[in-house]
């Protein structure tokens, strides 16, 4: 499941899959700004059926945080 997530994120945000490491910062690694954050939320919703609530976003800093959030809600 993590492999699928990494592949989807790497493709959407045009980064090498290798840079998506569990402890890496999401925004810095994928160069996300306030506009592109909504892309990540939409992608997770479409691919994994999990809606990331706006108030929860500040708690999701690393990819490990994202995996925990998504996979515990599937």
């Amino acid at each position: 499941m993590i492999k699928k997530m990494v592949a989807i994120l790497a493709d959407e945000f045009e980064v090498e899959a290798e840079v998506i490491q569990p402890e890496a910062n999401i925004k810095e690694t994928m160069h996300l700004d306030s506009l592109s954050l909504v892309d990540m939320v939409g992608l997770v919703n479409e691919e994994f059926g999990v809606e990331i609530k706006t108030p929860d976003l500040p708690t999701i800093k690393t990819f490990a945080d994202l995996y925990d959030y998504v996979f515990t809600r599937m």
Binding site: L35, V38, D39, V41
Partner: protein, 143 residues
Amino acid sequence: MSSPACKVTDIASLIPQRSPIQMVDRYIFEDELNCRSELTINEDNLFLDESGYMSVEGVLEHIAQTSAAHIGYLHRLAGKTISLGYIGDIKRCAVTGQMPAAGATLCTHVSVVSQVGNVTLVSAEAAVNDSPILSCRMKVAED
């Protein structure tokens, strides 16, 4: 916040654009995540090219105004102030049919994919006579 599908003819109450830049005649609310809109293209539409066909930019503006109207309508249902909406970016734009000419009615379905703060990501498909002509992803940012 659920309401039955309804048509809003007072589009001026949802978006700031006025003729000749107004690109939505009718807005139809379906649910919180979905809406439709229609535009009958007049001969003096600003987005008609020299051949008399709507430009791609015109269809994208129509989608943007539809999205802004939907966001505005949701704000109205929630008792909030309606803000100005701006195009954040456009992705996955695919032209799949011939652009319409004056006299045609452009029909668009917009679906909300996600929302973070004041930025909404929508998926949209525009059609003429039930034939899709353009689809895209668009971000609309509120002022």
